[in-house]
Amino acid sequence: MNDSRLRLDLADLAGEVRNVDLHDRVLRTSRRLGVRRAMTASAAALAVLAGAVGVAFALQPDGTAPTPIPAASSTTSATTSATTSPPGKVESSAPPSVTETVLKGTRWYLASTPTEYVVHAVTGTDDKVTARIPGDRNDAHCVSQTITISPTGKRLAWVEGSDDVNGTLKVADTDGSHQQTLGTGVLCLGADTLIWKGDDQLVLTKGNQQHLVGIPTKADTALPTAEQVESYSPDGSKVAKTVGQQRVANGKSYKYTPPAAMADHYDGWSARGLSADGRYVAAGWKGTDPSRKRDTFTIVDTTTGKSVALPGSGEQNYVVFTAGGLVLAHQAGQTVIFDAGLRHQGEIRDPAGLQNALLLGFRPWIRP
């Protein structure tokens, strides 16, 4: 082979790439890596300290959980990975009419313009803009990283900040009204820094410590630093968290081993969503580029510690666990519906213009 020609063609091909200024992105990523490592080190150190003095961590469901809300949902996103085990039988059953439940329910999406973030509520084919949050798409990364909708679609929350690390927590009704400020110095790095517990409580991070904040009451409770809350089930009754180095879901410890190289690259993973029955968690990498999609890479069956592929779905899904047991995966301009046992039920197309939007949440339709 003519090496010289290969060299020339490689140089020619390399010339296709556009040069971009990576300076600010590099510094943001570096800060994120630093914060993540500091938090991990802090939690690990405290876990060791607690173990040394004989503190036993409670591995039980959160006893303060509110009464389950009938039509709740929590949002996360997932990338399916190679199946290592088929989903097992799940006790709960699918709602009687999947089509009615999903099509007549409401899906919320987050889209953006150069100057604002736009929340859409889609019911059937009806697409309504319910809220607009000012923010420069190229600059207001805190907003884009944090904006989230509560499980039943009652409230919106987001963090506003100029340094892409910390900011001010804002909460409003889903239509953008009744906006209030609930705290400052709130971490906005990462994909899931705001974690809903029902509609009325949020877990957030200040410094290296998580806090549980009540929205109506504004009560602020510091959570144990040796634990990291990762997600709640749609009704807020079950929690997925880490206790020291141990993963816990619905009060039971579990172990899942992710691909080592990826885990090393992204500084580990977290449970971005917890199914209604507490069995499945949606696993996402921690250190993903904040400017990228909030994807996760697999769903983990906590009873086996193995990953579960969503049948018939591709990569880069956004997944919604609902209180009724339905699971929605958003990908490639459509929403794929699964029952509580992750069995494929059907799919619906997303409205034009929202195929690339972020699925924020879902409220199933309930037969009157």
């Binding site: 082979m1 003519n2 090496d3 010289s4 020609r5 290969l6 060299r7 063609d9 490689l10 140089a11 020619d12 091909l13 390399a14 010339g15 296709e16 790439v17 556009r18 040069n19 971009v20 200024d21 990576l22 300076h23 992105r25 590099v26 510094l27 990523t29 570096s30 994120r32 890596l33 630093g34 990338t79 691909p259 190289a261 990826m262 090393d264 690259h265 580029d289 990228r292 890479f297 990569e315």
Partner: protein, 182 residues
């Protein structure tokens, strides 16, 4: 081109030197990353991640002249690490239609063919080819960057070129014909 352009330690003397380093070397790093990933955004992501890790290690880099070598080392290792996820996303559908023998070589087609062919190689084979034929690294330099033996570089280079001939025979034919002509 040299395998790794050394930075004169006298060029920069403070933390601002990292800013200068990023701005001066991003373009070169992006070119290598583009050959490794075949995609603008993945290339940006790769360089960004590598530079962020360099930034976190900046204070510990005793010889700032090695900053680019360190960054490239991180970049190549990250790319190998990302392979499991990226390979499915980056794998192209079909190669461009093979050119008919005797056609005038259209550079655009060659680029498309070469890019698609590179993505058909394993990530390690691709990294070795880029290091050897784009970065102009010696076998020893490539081995040091990838943390493998010189023997591995030799075998991976041989396998990469062989696979290139298989997945893009028209490309190999072009290179062979031109090589003979010269």
């Amino acid at each position: 081109m040299v395998c790794v352009r050394p930075i004169d330690p006298e060029e920069t003397t403070s933390m601002d030197e990292f800013d200068s380093f990023v701005r001066s070397r991003s373009a070169a790093l992006l070119r290598s990353a583009y050959l490794l990933t075949g995609d603008q955004h993945l290339a940006e992501d790769l360089v960004q991640s590598a530079l962020a890790r360099t930034h976190r290690s900046w204070g510990r880099l005793r010889d700032r002249g090695n900053a680019e070598a360190y960054t490239r080392k991180v970049m190549y290792h990250l790319q190998v690490s990302w392979w499991r996820r990226r390979v499915a996303e980056a794998m192209p559908g079909e190669l461009p239609e093979p050119r008919q023998a005797g056609d005038h070589a259209d550079q655009t087609t060659i680029r498309m063919t070469l890019r698609a062919a590179l993505l058909r190689l394993s990530v390690k084979q691709r990294a070795v080819l880029v290091l050897r034929y784009f970065e102009d690294c010696t076998e020893a330099e490539a081995a040091d960057l990838l943390g493998v033996t010189v023997g591995t570089i030799k075998s991976q280079t041989s396998k990469a070129l062989a696979k290139l001939r298989v997945v893009a025979p028209e490309l190999a034919e072009l290179y062979l014909l031109e090589g003979v002509a010269r």
